[in-house]
């Protein structure tokens, strides 16, 4: 009885602590990491025109043999505009090849954009209808995929890639993948 009397006033506190524990754990789970069916799967087949030189087509082959990023972007997407300088910084590190997927966009606008802000991408696939993006399981722009040497998707960032995400997540992952054998 004395025990109950002692414990009773602190019951609410105990409840708070247990709820707090789960909330804290919940925060550590990255909410932007929507489980993607494509993680650890081969990249889907595709056949796209190169944005800059449309007579050239791009396919799955470009991803093989090296670690790369695929960034899904569009000129109408403001978040992509915030992200763009980060991509250029990443390109300037020369640590990884970045490919672009220009999603539901207008070709002339996209070309003007690249002329104005620079081009962080080694190659840009042009996907005006967004059909290739559907195969890649793209929710919206921007999204960035990390693809290993065998052409397997290893990670996906939904939303903006910041310097912080690059430093803390992408760079360590890329360095690890580059040590893997082909």
């Amino acid at each position: 009885m004395i025990f109950i009397k002692l414990i009773k006033p602190i019951i609410p506190l105990l409840i708070l602590i247990s709820i707090g524990f789960f909330l804290w754990r919940g925060l550590a789970i990255n909410p932007t990491l929507v489980p993607s069916a494509l993680i650890d799967k081969q990249i889907p087949e595709f056949n796209l025109r190169n944005l800059i030189s449309p007579q050239q087509t791009l396919s799955k082959q470009i991803f093989l043999g090296h670690v790369s990023l695929l960034n899904v972007w569009a000129t109408w997407c403001t978040v992509c505009a915030n992200e763009y300088p980060v991509l250029i910084d990443i390109k300037n590190t020369h640590l990884v090849t970045i490919y672009g997927l220009d999603y539901k966009d207008d070709r002339q606008t996209a070309l003007r954009w690249i002329k104005k802000y620079g081009n962080p991408f080694a190659k840009i696939g042009f996907d005006p209808e967004g059909t290739t993006a559907i195969n890649w399981g793209v929710y919206g722009t921007p999204e960035t995929f990390v693809i290993d040497k065998k052409g397997i998707i290893r990670y996906k960032v939904i939303g903006e890639v910041s310097h912080r995400i690059w430093q803390r997540i992408l760079l360590p992952l890329i360095e690890k993948l580059q040590r893997e054998s082909t």
Binding site: K8, P12, F21, F22, G26, P31, T32, T78, A81, G140
Partner: protein
């Protein structure tokens, strides 16, 4: 210039909030009057600076200042002026600024309308409110500054507001909700002041009752608006989805409702003292939790684009320290509370206690359902979601006994009530509700339905018993001596009954159908014929699209003409369907356009929804009842006169 002034005003408000917290609290402890006197002016000053910052951001929106990052992300030159203003609270930074603005308004009102309170009480109350302000101001200034500039390369035009949010219902829904949420901070502050001072008599409950009621009214209105918005905008014909964000507002509402009733017991009978204190802390804790869940984005993964984890961490730490400290103080003081709980099994106290227990159990089930996916994920047990089947299965049966005793409570006697008196008072009402509950569904549909009988029966039981109680009171007591809070109670209880009937009938008798229709074709649903008669192009201020016409007929008689639209917002490259709804007291017809299937036929979703308006009508009545009670004369007089017992 203006955004920088806003930013600066927030910093000034923070310094004032620090003074407002420290000096009055210490002053009240060491009994230094000059320090306690600082509470009011600093609270008013804080209010002025925070409101100034709020209007600075609003100015940036109205003048299309896209050099401000937040404006660039949420507004656009071709957005109508009204939505430019409301876009202010459409995303994180502005929502937090709205939160702190609302808090400073409540603080300001407390500072002004508390002339009759003892100085040390008001010093403590404002100090607690100041502490909450500090937490949120630091949060805004360090992690969610809405005044950040995009310089030197700012966009010529903004990203615009999410088309779904471009609706008058949703535009005023967040402020109402926040006013409600944040309003519980006042009850919390009064409870903490009582705990800090150690004077745990009924006085604090009397002072905090009108504030709690006011907050509850706003929250009720906010939830009603949100429900109405989801019905008319989302195009799914639903009015409640048990979505985490909705639950986040429902949890404080359930607790707040329990608190209102328990405050009454403590004020009038001196019973449930420590329980009421706990409820006041709990209601505010859930408001903070709701803010945390919505703003940290940990539950709504798909919507949580670009969530900054530092925000969630900060808010969780803050929530923890505020509620942790208050529960520690509670644990320390709770032993000293002596309740004069002297009541029989059959008494108004018991009924109100049952009300509280049911409401809190219901709250706990909703909380569990809301947090369950998170708990599993935290334990690495997979990613799941908890949907309406769980909530309906658990929540609905819990509420039935509550509705039953709700009719008894207002007419029951305090302390003790003989069984015979109970039977005498209620037998006629009970039989009337039972007969009508059985008869009405049969008369109108030709078949019996148990759920309809229970829903209608309980609703009528509440309405009849409440009216009967009011009638008896009028016969017994002079009209002048009946308090406004009595009428408030009558209206609010009838409001809930109306909502209950609305929910029951619209859930049971609604029918829907998905069809493919081209102009000129028609389809049948229930006894009605829905004909797709016309289609035309549509151009709005910031969208283009189609407007269609549907004629609803019954036996060749025109019942309604609907104009569902499909709108395409060019800035966001997003199309939304704007359903056509014919509003009726007893039935709604609802048509939503889906995808265009080929050259001229469309996927169309058709609903027939009886009594759906009753759900929101009841919500509005509940709010009105609350407002009437807030203006009870008794709260404005110093001495408590027992007008109605």
């Amino acid at each position: 210039m203006i955004p920088e002034l806003g930013h600066f005003a927030l910093i000034l408000a923070l310094t004032l909030a620090i003074i407002q917290t420290l000096f009055p609290l210490i002053g009240a402890t060491i009994n230094k009057i000059s320090w306690m006197l600082l509470a009011r002016p600093t609270a008013i000053g804080q209010f002025i600076f925070v409101t100034f910052a709020f209007f600075c951001l609003m100015y940036s929106f109205v003048t299309n200042d896209f050099s401000v990052l937040y404006v660039a992300q949420n507004s656009n030159t071709n957005l109508p002026l009204f939505y430019k203003v409301t876009a202010l609270w459409s995303a994180h930074e502005g929502s937090m600024l709205l939160w702190i603005t609302v808090l400073s308004c409540w603080t300001f009102l407390v500072a002004i309308f508390s002339k009759s309170l003892p100085l040390d009480t008001i010093a403590r109350v404002l100090s607690v409110l100041g502490f909450i302000s500090i937490g949120f101001l630091i949060f805004i200034l360090t992690t969610s500054d809405p005044f950040i500039r995009l310089l030197p390369n700012f966009p010529a035009n903004g990203q615009s507001l999410n088309p779904l949010l471009q609706d008058p219902g949703l535009a005023i829904h967040p402020p109402m909700l926040y006013i409600g949420y944040v309003g519980f901070s006042v009850a919390f502050a009064f409870a903490m002041a009582a705990l800090l001072s150690g004077r745990l008599d009924a006085a604090w409950t009397r002072w905090s009752r009108p504030w709690t009621l006011a907050a509850w009214c706003f929250l009720t209105f906010g939830i009603t608006l949100g429900s109405w918005w989801s019905y008319r905008v989302l195009g799914w014909g639903g009015w409640w989805f048990w979505d985490p964000v909705e639950n986040a507002s429902f949890l404080p509402w359930l607790t707040g409702t329990a608190l209102l009733h328990s405050l009454m017991v403590t004020e009038k009978r001196g019973a449930f003292k420590s329980w009421t204190l706990l409820l006041a802390i709990c209601a505010f804790a859930l408001s903070l939790l709701g803010t945390f869940l919505v703003r940290s984005g940990i539950l709504i993964s798909v919507h949580a684009f670009a969530v900054d984890p530092t925000r969630g961490e900060y808010m969780l730490k803050f929530l923890f320290s505020v509620i942790g400290i208050s529960l520690l103080i509670y644990a320390w003081r709770a032993n000293k509370i002596k309740g004069s709980s002297n009541f029989a099994l059959l008494s108004r106290e018991t009924l109100l206690l049952t009300n509280n227990v049911i409401l809190m159990v219901a709250m706990a089930t909703v909380l569990l359902g809301t947090l369950y996916p998170l708990i599993l994920q935290a334990l690495n047990l997979g990613k799941i979601s908890v949907g309406p089947p769980y909530f309906n299965a658990v929540f609905v049966p819990l509420m039935m006994p509550l509705f039953f005793i709700m009719a008894l409570g207002p007419q029951a006697d305090w302390q003790q009530m003989p069984k015979k008196a109970l039977l005498e008072k209620f037998w006629l009402v009970f039989i009337a509700a039972l007969i009508l509950g059985c008869a009405l569904p049969y008369l109108f549909t030709g078949t019996e339905n148990l759920f309809a009988t229970v829903g209608i029966g309980l609703g009528l039981w509440i309405i009849f018993a409440t009216l009967q109680g009011s009638y008896r009171l009028h016969k017994k007591v002079n009209l002048k001596n009946i308090s406004r809070s009595h009428y408030g109670m009558v209206i609010a209880h009838i409001g809930l009954a109306i909502t209950l009937i609305g929910i029951t009938l619209s859930s049971i008798y609604s029918v829907e159908k998905d069809v493919r229709l081209a102009p000129g074709q028609s389809t049948h649903l229930a006894n009605f014929k829905f004909a797709f008669t016309n289609i035309a192009a549509l151009t709005g201020p910031n969208y283009t699209g189609f407007i269609t016409q549907f004629d609803v007929t019954q036996d060749h008689q025109l019942m309604a003409t609907l104009h569902p639209q499909q709108r395409f917002f060019s800035v966001q490259q997003e199309g939304i369907s704007d359903p056509g709804i014919s509003k009726g007291l007893f039935q709604d017809f609802y048509v939503a356009l889906g995808e265009k299937m080929d050259t001229d036929s469309w996927a169309v979703r058709i609903y027939y929804k009886p009594f759906v308006r009753w759900i929101w009508a009841g919500g509005i009545l509940m709010m009105l009842g609350g407002i009437i009670s807030v203006f009870d004369k008794r709260y404005r007089k110093q001495s408590l006169k027992k007008i109605f017992d």
